[in-house]
Each structure stands twice: as C-alpha cells, then as structure tokens.
C-alpha cells in the first residue's frame, strides 16, 4: 500500500508511460517514443522523444540521413535547460524549470495540424518551410531549379504560471535543427513604474513590467558516435577594412563564449568525412539573442554559448538538481579538457509588452539554428523530391 501511494505521486506527471510496442531490431526506442520520418525530398530523421519530469520534452539519439546517403548520428540528447525570467524592476526573478513534465498542456488535434499526437502532450508533424532553393533557367525550363522544403516538428507546450511556452524541435529536410520556444498565454498583469514598463490598456495607468526570457538549451552532440567530437569557434578579422581573414579557434578546454558579429561555432568529428574528404560538422549560429547580462550572482547569464565536457548529472543551466554536480552552467565550464562536448546555448528575448499582447498573448519566438556543414559533398536535395525539375 505504501508503495502504491508513493507511486501515485511519482506518476502524477505528464510523462506517465504510454502503451509501447516492441522496438524493432536496431532501433533505440519503441513506438510511440520513436520518430522516424522520411521527408518528401528523401531526407530522413530518426530520433527518440521522452517527456521528462524536470526538463519536459527531450529528444535523444537524433540521426540524420541526407537523401541518397548513409545515416549519421548528430545529437545524443537535446532539451531545455532553463527559462530564466528576470523582471526589469529587479524583482521577481523566476527560474521557470519547474517540473516541465507536470506542467505540460494537453494538446488537441487543432494544436497538431496534420500531425500525430503521441500521448496527450507531444505532437509530431511535418510542415512547409518555404523554398528549399530557386535558380532561374534563363529561359530554359529544363535548367530552372526550384523546390519547396519541408520540416519535421516535435513539440510540447507547458503552462508555467500565466505563461504558456511552446517548445519546438524542428528538423529540416536540409539537415538543419532549429530548437525554439514560443511564449504565449498571458502577461503577468502586474504594474510597475513607467521606466520599467509600457502602458497597456486604456490611458497611462497600467505599465506592464518588461522582462527577459533567457532560455537555455543543452545539446549533447555525438557526431557519428561520442568519440572525437571537437568544438571550433570561427571569427573573421578586419574592422573597417576590405579584407577579412578567418580565425579558427579550437576549444580544447571548457569555454564560456560570447556572441560576436559573424562569429559561429561548429562541432566537428574529424574522422567522419564526406565524399570530398571534408570533416562532417554541425554549425551553431543565428541566435538573435538579446544578450541579457545579470548581476554577479547570475553569472550563468554572462555568456551566450558554453562548451563543457559531458557529465550525466549536469542537466540544467541553473538550479541543477544533482548533489553530485555543480549547480549552474557557468560553474560547469571550468578548465577541463573537452573530449565529449556538450553545448549550452543561451538565447534571451526582452519582452516589452504592447497593447497587442492582450489576452491571449500572441506568441513570440526565440531559438537558434544548427546547420549541417560538410555533412554531404553536394546539396543532397538537388535532384530529389517531388519539386525537382521535370525530366
């Protein structure tokens, strides 16, 4: 009886198990936790998903198969690692994780258009992503090249107080991964001084308080397995000069890195090569972060990308729930040699409310891009898919 009572508590989260069918040989997970989607251009994504009590939706064992190529492993796991919400007057300052698993919102068919709900809380769908490419034929229709791209989306939503967060993992048919979070639901509705807010509603009585959503993602890259992965940072010198030169910095030790104009990073496995002999990698860029920097006791906000050596117990960017480990990502990024890199990406959005944010608040998105760099020797979609030029 005692265990039954405990169990009732333990299972009172959205991650309560679904009915499974046996995993096919060689598959890392069973239905309904396996997602294996071949997009119209021939690109294929295979991954496992899990609704974890703390992090909520987690993707794991993510592998990409470019059209006409062999499968390559990309991520061992990817998950939200914190949503830090400091208000502009200085208080309050929330850490919205939060047991996201028990805050998951039951999704309706309308929340998952054309897709498939896996249990009540996770939606798997594909949707158009606009042009994959377009090239004029200069009068020759046979030379004209145009294709429409599609993407696989795995999403869940969480109700944390008045906010609803929609968390998407987007896997493009071009091999890209876009983790993003949309904030919607309701504004807090609290008032502040004019210097910390924006007047909403009638007149100038209610100044809704501005605030940041500093969202952290944790991504454990394992390109073609966990061995040999290296993180590089790319910069381009030349300020007010015509020439620019590329500067590559190999991050052999744990690093706290800042965004910078034109700067990007990649995770590369030097032994996994494409047909041109170039090392396969994924590039991290385009966060468009507001780059919030908090006080000294919030040092986790002081960098945009953290590279750390893999440790299973380093799960959240702040408020890490493990006695064996340090508590925040700035402390994980010490001086250790990185043999198996984990990347933590911090993307901030500063929300200055406007009249249009009245209930239900329109969704505002933040995220970043992970794009393949030299995974294939050519554009793998060039001759594939239904939008390919007529033969």
């Amino acid at each position: 009886m005692f265990v039954h009572l405990l169990l009732a508590g333990s299972l009172a989260v959205s991650g309560a198990p679904l009915a499974r069918t046996a995993a096919a040989p060689g598959q890392p997970c069973s239905a309904p936790y396996l997602i294996d989607e071949r997009l119209p251009n021939g690109a294929r994504w295979r991954l496992c998903w899990e609704m974890r009590t703390i992090e909520g939706l987690t993707v794991g064992r993510v592998a990409y198969t470019p059209p006409g190529h062999q499968q390559v492993g990309v991520l061992r796991s990817g998950a939200l690692a914190q949503i830090h919400v400091p208000y502009d007057s200085g208080e309050p300052r929330y850490h919205d994780i939060g047991s996201l698993g028990s805050a998951a919102v039951a999704l309706t068919e309308a929340d998952c258009p054309g897709g498939e709900r896996r249990g009540q809380y996770t939606c798997v769908l594909t949707r158009a992503r606009g042009h994959a490419f377009l090239k004029d034929g200069f009068g020759d229709p046979a030379e004209r090249r145009s294709a429409q791209g599609r993407e696989l989306v795995v999403l869940s939503a969480y109700q944390v107080g008045w906010y609803t967060y929609i968390a998407e993992w987007i896997f493009g048919d071009d091999g890209s991964i876009t983790p993003r979070v949309g904030a919607t639901g309701s504004l807090a509705g609290t008032t502040t001084a004019p210097k910390h807010g924006w007047p909403i509603g009638v007149g100038r009585k209610h100044f809704e308080e501005s605030h940041s959503h500093n969202i952290f993602w944790r991504m454990d890259f394992d390109i073609g397995g966990k061995a040999r992965d290296v993180v590089e940072q790319y910069d381009f010198s030349g300020n007010r000069t015509k020439k620019r030169s590329m500067i590559r910095t190999t991050l052999t030790r744990e690093t706290k890195a800042l965004n910078w104009p034109m700067r990007w990073w990649r995770v590369v496995d030097p032994r996994v090569r494409n047909a041109d002999g170039h090392a396969v990698s994924w590039e991290i860029n385009n966060s468009g972060s507001a780059e919030y920097r908090g006080p000294s006791d919030e040092a986790f906000t002081h960098s945009d990308v953290y590279v750390t050596q893999y440790r299973a117990c380093e799960r959240l960017a702040t408020m890490n729930p493990s006695p064996r480990c340090r508590t925040s990502v700035d402390a994980y990024a010490g001086k250790e040699r990185v043999k198996d890199p984990v990347l933590w990406v911090n993307v901030g959005f500063h929300h200055v409310a406007r009249d249009e944010d009245a209930d239900p608040m329109p969704v505002h998105w933040q995220g970043f891009r992970v794009t393949p760099r030299d995974v294939t020797a050519r554009n793998p979609a060039a001759s594939a898919g239904p939008s390919a030029p007529p033969q």
Binding site: L7, E50, Y94, T190
Partner: protein, 216 residues
C-alpha cells in the same frame, strides 16, 4: 510607482489576467495495458512497472522517515547517463529535517540502489504534492489565507474547500534569507475566473512550514 500590491491588508490583489491555462495534466490512460508491455528499449522512458520497482527499492531505507513526513519522494526519473548500458532510475527524495536532497540511483535489472548522493542547497523543482502542501500553508496563514479565500469566493461564487480547488504551479525560490538553505516554493495560483493571484512576493518555506513575504 510600485506595484499595486496589498499585503498589509487582509486581501491579495489579483492580477487581472484572463488566462486560458489548462493545468489538468494527469497520467496517461493506458495503465490497464501495462501487464502486456514488451521490455523497454534503451531510449524509452521508464515504464510504469520500472517506476514502481525503482520507488520500492529507493524508498526501502527511508520508510520510517517518510511515514513521519521528514523525507518525501519527489519523483523518479530515468537516468540518462550514456556511460551506462543498464537501465537505471533516479529517485529524488528530500529530507526536510536535514534540508538535503538525496538522489538514489537504482539499477533496475539488479533491483538495488547502486549509488546515493546527498547534498544541501540543491533544490530540484517542487513535486505536485509539495505544491499542494505549500498552498495549504498559504491557506493556513491568518491574513494571506483569508485573502486567498476571499479572492476564490469572488472568482467562483463558492467557498474554497481545500487547497486542491486552486490551480497551482510552484517554482523553487532560493534567493534570500532562510530560503538559501531551506526548501522554499513560490506559487502561481490561478482562480476559477482565469485570474492569477499576485503571489510574486509570497514565499512558502516547506522546511520551516512558514509563509514569508518578500520586500522589494
């Protein structure tokens, strides 16, 4: 101008928010099919049976303290350590008397605890039961409790029966005072008319069983 916060009085100011929140996220309905489940694959979440077994093993040495309310099981998560091939579960327990988090790792094949770590100042997110207990402490507070009841009555036309009538979400608070070492929760409380109470300055100390209000 400060926030329109009314703490000195007996009422809580309710933020005017017509939320469309859906808080009811109960378990999935497939419990009856559990018996016929195939063995889990490495990347699968813990099965219901695995959670039950992990709970039994991880709590075996703490039964007396759990019965007295000193220790509580927060939840059981799958351990996702890629160095481990075996299926393992991590049980999160909190010891309120010692103000320490205990994480017991259970090897599911062996059916035993293979690792235990314990530490102070480590606060995983509150469990559902803790959210409820925090709301009970808030309702038991002479002034604030009265305020919550009044707002509930105003929102629903009914008397509040128990804390379970409120829609709750809790986040850990550890930025000030005793909450630097105690287990403290800040609650979001949604009323039946969709408004949220302004609870941003209220912190419920589960270790000391006290409600405090923050000054800023």
């Amino acid at each position: 101008m400060r926030r329109s916060w009314v703490l000195a009085g007996a009422t809580l100011s309710a933020a005017v928010v017509a939320g469309t929140a859906m808080f009811l996220s109960g378990g999935e309905p497939q419990a009856s099919q559990v018996q016929r489940q195939p063995p889990p694959a490495p990347g699968d979440p813990l099965s219901q049976d695995e959670v039950r077994r992990a709970t039994e093993v991880a709590t075996a040495s703490s039964r007396a303290h759990m019965a007295s309310g000193r220790i509580e099981l927060l939840y059981v998560e799958r351990e996702d350590d890629k160095a481990q091939d075996d299926r393992r579960a991590e049980a999160y327990l909190y010891d309120y008397a010692d103000d320490a988090l205990i994480v017991r790792t259970v090897d599911l094949a062996e059916g035993k605890v293979v690792e235990e770590s314990k530490g102070r100042g480590v606060q995983p997110p509150p469990s559902k039961r803790e959210e409820l207990r925090a709301a009970e402490l808030l309702l038991a507070h002479p002034k604030l409790g009265k305020g919550v009841r009044a707002e509930y009555k105003k929102a629903s036309g009914r008397q509040l029966r128990t804390a379970a009538d409120l829609q709750l979400r809790g986040l850990i608070f550890r930025d000030a005072g005793a909450c630097r070492t105690h287990r403290c929760v800040r609650l979001f409380v949604r009323l039946p008319d969709g408004r949220f109470l302004d609870t941003s300055r209220i912190v419920i100390d589960l270790s000391a069983k006290k409600v405090q209000t923050l000054e800023w």
